[in-house]
Point group: C2
Chain length 136, copies 2
């Protein structure tokens, strides 16, 4: 997210020029807004196994609508994360696959997943404690 490498830090201890942070300041939003939405993560998980056609992706993703899948794929394609190949047969076939850029996301995503996996119990405890505090 807006975590910066120590030496490229434009935020930090009040040394940001304006002394305030704006949404636009945060380069990570470039990624998060586009990738961390409801479906992108799962689409990528499915496509990681190999190229798939539209309806094949749809079948592997329980509950996604045609519209949502189209939107998700378009956004991923626009950001260079997946590529789209039209195969001119009849009826038409369209194949999607993860690009090299998309594959390079695997390492950071894995780090995030591992954090979640490791700290899930702690997060759940925190939620329980909070919910109890705010009911009793």
């Amino acid at each position: 997210m807006s975590v910066q490498p120590e030496n490229a830090n434009t935020y930090g201890k009040g040394i940001c020029p304006k002394d305030v942070l704006t949404l636009a300041d945060c380069p990570s939003r470039l990624l998060l807004d586009q990738i961390a939405d409801k479906w992108s993560v799962l689409v990528l998980a499915v496509l990681k196994e190999g190229p798939l056609r539209f309806n094949m992706i749809k079948r592997r993703l329980e509950g996604i609508t045609q519209k949502a899948l189209t939107q998700t794929l378009r956004r991923l394609e626009r950001n260079g994360i997946v590529s789209r190949h039209v195969i001119p047969v009849s009826p038409i076939a369209v194949e999607y696959q993860v690009t090299a850029l998309g594959k390079s996301l695997d390492q950071p995503f894995r780090a995030l997943y591992e954090w979640t996996f490791l700290h899930l119990p702690e997060v759940e405890r925190a939620r329980q404690a909070f919910d109890e505090r705010h009911s009793g």
Copy 2:
């Protein structure tokens, strides 16, 4: 996101029991839904510098409303990412700070930030190319 360590993989090459993925299957959403929203990232960036009181955070975050900040802080608190301390003076003072759990998020976030930083030009090229394809 839904990237799994190789050996804990419940998705993978069609070996998922149901052979379909549901939103609930993806443990990463636990984190992403709650942290990757519009403001959480920036709130954490500000709080990383040290504990701050409500209105001090608000002043450092250009454009955030009182309501949005309250909601963001509550969600972060519920997930154990920040903690809230009421200082019983008059008028009342409330201090927020990042917890140990919250601090442990720094590494995965840094990985993500570094990816963004490194691949920004490529993403921007992809967007330009896409936008040209879809206008001409």
